[in-house]
């Protein structure tokens, strides 16, 4: 049962992060491979605030969201000018840079050994120590983020973002502001990333750079691609499915030392297979 709770909690957190990635990559077409870095900023801000008792959980989560909003807008800035393939390279650089900062800014992040002992989340003076409480918190925030994503997709803003993905020049010629639309999407994706990161920090009670490296970004992209880009359902299916995989893998007889590598290999194979055979994912549109 404990395993189920922690699986579902983690999956709910990854749904929030997946929404962030899906919004940028799927809806607006800003192909970011640095979403784990944003996720990391969210986790570190909450981790730092709680470990050093700067503020409580709720303000820490708001700070995480705000920090990620700002950071995501700044790192997405190149995509506001250059579009398409060039941004992937820029984004790759941002991811490497972020990992370097997480690993070396020891005063704030604890360096490679990370920030241990992040206290559990607390709401209205109650510490959420039980597994089901964490799950409820994660599911509640996941539901809220899903609702926001849904409202966004069906609004004129959602249509504008899709149009920006299809043809920026035509959007501008229709008298709409492309730059403003992209900044708004980056900000919103940042908020989702911050909320997800903040939840992650209190749920694992430990924050270290390895969760927010390039593999983390690839995992998020894999979730979006496998689940289905551009749709809400896809963003929900992907994390629940992919996070169940390690459990499935334990049923196969492979040594634990090879398990991590096997998982990475499987993610890679999945990405390729989906791109070739089902580019729209399980419940999405073609990327």
């Amino acid at each position: 049962m404990d395993y189920f709770y922690s699986y579902a909690t983690l999956a709910a957190i990854y749904v929030v992060l997946g929404l962030s990635t899906n919004l940028l990559v799927g809806i607006v077409g800003i192909f970011s491979v640095s979403q784990a870095a944003i996720f990391g900023v969210g986790a570190y801000v909450t981790g730092y605030c709680l470990v050093n008792e700067v503020v409580g959980f709720v303000p820490a989560m708001l700070l995480s969201a705000l920090a990620c909003l700002l950071v995501n807008v700044v790192v997405t800035l190149p995509a506001l000018r250059v579009s398409g393939d060039y941004f992937v390279v820029t984004s790759f650089g941002i991811q490497l840079l972020a990992t370097a900062v997480f690993t070396n800014w020891t005063g704030a992040t604890g360096g490679a050994s990370g920030l241990p002992g992040v206290p559990p989340a607390s709401l209205l003076g109650t510490e959420l120590v039980e597994a089901w409480q964490n799950l409820a918190l994660a599911l509640g925030l996941m539901a809220l983020c899903c609702l926001l994503f849904h409202l966004l997709l069906r609004s004129p803003y959602g249509r504008l973002l899709r149009a920006v993905r299809e043809d920026e020049l035509a959007v501008a010629a229709s008298g709409k502001g492309v730059l403003r639309a992209k900044v708004g999407a980056a900000a919103l994706a940042g908020v989702f990333g911050g909320v997800g990161g903040s939840l992650y920090a209190v749920f694992l009670s430990f924050v270290d750079p390895s969760s927010f490296d390039l593999n983390g970004s690839v995992l998020l992209l894999t979730m979006v691609v496998v689940g289905g880009a551009r749709t809400l359902l896809g963003s929900v299916i992907g994390p629940f499915l992919l996070l169940a995989l390690p459990q499935v893998l334990t049923m196969v007889e492979i040594p634990t030392t090879a398990a991590a590598a096997a998982r990475q290999g499987l993610y890679g194979a999945l990405l390729i297979a989906f791109m070739v055979f089902r580019p729209q994912g399980l419940a999405g549109e073609k990327l």
């Binding site: 959602g158 008298g175 639309a181």
Partner: protein, 254 residues
């Protein structure tokens, strides 16, 4: 004839190429003005200069007496000028209705805060936008295709949709870049009929056109552009029968 749109002494150089050279002309209100000339004459460049996509090196453009110089594309669309593209630039993965709806100005919830925190007002606005988009589609004869994805449209339908998208901006002056190219038969007639209908409703049109037959069929006025400069201006009959212009256009064979 009042100068609805006035282009005055516009110059634009791309490296070694003088794309527009002291280009001046006027467009009369409520008329169809066809812009003709050989490839590379600067027809699309002058569209870019009028819509603010391109900043001229010198010269100015005025619309209904107000200077457009220095205005953003957005501001120029708000002022009432919108364009279509030679290579269509439709949103291929969006529905026909969404292609048109996306161009309608002043929608509530077209930015994140309104969309997320005023969902009911956004939804009400969305209904109005859809209704307006349907009206525009009905106007160009695409109402029955509203739910279709653009990639499933015929080429003729895509050309009509381009005009619908320009109309949806509410523009008074339509700049149409080759709205009939690649069309023949019924599809061509559908676009020509639409252009005439729009004129009868009082929309002013400046149209880049290659097909002499089309020019004869719809134009009130023809502008002949050559090497970025206005060579001649006149009625379709006068321009198309001028041997000197035919010499430039067809290389002497007519």
């Amino acid at each position: 004839m009042t100068a609805y749109l006035e282009v005055q002494g516009v110059n634009k150089r791309f490296g070694g190429l003088q794309a527009l050279q002291d280009c001046s002309f006027t467009v009369g209100q409520g008329r169809i003005t066809c812009l003709v000339g050989p490839n590379g004459a600067g027809k699309t460049t002058i569209f870019n200069a009028i819509t603010g996509a391109l900043r001229p090196d010198s010269g100015h453009v005025a619309f209904r007496g107000a200077a457009l110089s220095g205005l953003s594309t957005q501001a120029i669309v708000r002022a009432g000028i919108a364009r279509s593209f030679q290579n269509l630039r439709l949103y291929a993965e969006l529905t026909v209705l969404d292609n048109v709806a996306s161009a309608i100005p002043g929608q509530f919830g077209e930015e994140p805060l309104g969309a997320l925190f005023r969902p009911f007002r956004t939804a009400a606005g969305q209904r109005r936008t859809r209704a307006a988009a349907m009206d525009t589609l009905a106007h160009v004869g695409l109402a029955d295709r509203a739910g279709t994805h653009v990639r499933n449209l015929s080429y003729g339908e895509q050309k009509l949709l381009c005009i619908a998208r320009v109309l949806a901006t509410g523009a008074k002056l339509l700049l149409l870049d080759e709205p009939t190219s690649g069309l023949s038969g019924a599809a061509l007639e559908a676009v020509l009929g639409l252009l005439r209908r729009l004129r009868d409703e009082g929309r002013t049109q400046l149209i880049v056109e290659h097909n002499t037959r089309v020019v004869m069929a719809v134009a009130d006025e023809v502008l002949f552009l050559h090497q970025g400069h206005l060579m001649a201006q006149g009625t379709p009959a006068a321009i198309t029968t001028d041997p000197a212009l035919a010499e430039i256009y067809f290389g002497g064979v007519l």
